[in-house]
Subunit: 200 residues, 2 copies
């Protein structure tokens, strides 16, 4: 096999979820694209990896020292939504239902994977809160054991931060989900925390 092809396939196959067969398909596909397009892909990946920064306030990915959300004067600076990863910020932003700030922990507490609270940006969160503007902290972490542990840990750390409201995402049956397929814990929680239908 050609060494150039071999190298391209080997590098592509290191991506998560890409086996050698898929890598070969991707490489062959690149041959059909213009050289400029392949250069654009290569340069986008390199400059993303080399030049990306983390916002000094919220730890979100950013092109500058401060990310566009933290720098935006129109955002509500009294609310901060704590998430695990950058992709959670994107998920919540796409709803257009939230106008506060974010705080990206960069992971969750997981003794199994050797991730302790000091590996996460929890101190940075407390520093931000210490500046006094924040009135509500939304803990938007997953409902896994690790997520609940992290929620519990942060709640404890926030206990002596003064009069701050600590909330979590509403749990219940998702839109479009069927009762048949929902698990017992979710249905139990949904019936316990049932909401009044306003229009009646």
């Amino acid at each position: 096999m050609s060494k150039l092809l071999d190298q391209a396939v080997a590098e592509l196959a290191k991506l998560p979820g890409v086996g050698r067969r898929t890598a070969l398909r991707l490489a062959i596909h690149l041959l059909r694209r213009d050289r400029e397009e392949v250069s654009a892909l290569a340069e986008a990946l390199q400059s993303f990896r080399n030049d990306i920064r983390y916002c000094r306030y919220c730890n979100n990915l950013s092109d500058e020292e401060v990310c566009p959300i933290c720098a935006d004067a129109r955002r509500d600076r009294t609310t901060v939504c704590v998430v695990e990863h950058v992709k959670d910020v994107i998920s919540i932003e796409q709803t257009r239902q939230y106008n506060g700030l974010y705080h990206v922990l960069g992971g969750i507490i997981s003794p199994m994977q050797g991730i302790s609270p000091s590996d996460l940006k929890i101190d940075l969160l407390l520093e931000n809160i210490a500046r006094g503007e924040i009135r509500e902290v939304i803990l938007a972490l997953n409902t896994s054991v690790e997520g609940e542990t992290t929620t519990f840990y942060i709640t404890r750390r926030l206990a002596n931060c003064g009069d701050i409201r600590i909330t979590s995402l509403a749990r219940g049956i998702g839109f479009g989900d069927e009762l048949d397929y929902a698990d017992e814990l979710t249905i139990g929680h949904a019936i316990h925390n049932r909401t009044v239908i306003e229009n009646c």
Copy 2:
């Protein structure tokens, strides 16, 4: 969203089978890799696209003017296996059952997709045959309508090339396939072309 992240995601999402969600996952993954590793990926893609050549004899991908298979004196130069794509060469090479040469057509005749015989490397095949060494041409094309059309077309073109054996891949039940799941055409062909069990 960060412009650098946005660009990386947009470029990755142009790859076949990669949506925006997967592209985001790949980009986030690259952040965890060393800068050198991401550079290696970017450079491998660019140099593959810019420096790869097509073998002047067989049209296979090659780093040099002549591919390693055509240049290898130990290969049987009396047999040529005609395939549609580069990936077919790799599939057959991986079997280690074939020691002849290859010829990559670069596609198959497909009026629906506007691919005519002149778009394929059929003249190059005839030129190679005209040099007089080749005694057998294996037409290893798919059994689709387009594949059969191409096989028929090439067979006709080879008719006045002298005493050359023209063969195709054996058709039958694949190893590990169950009769229950095989289609009628395959089973019919397999029973019609049944083979003698030598050990009896």
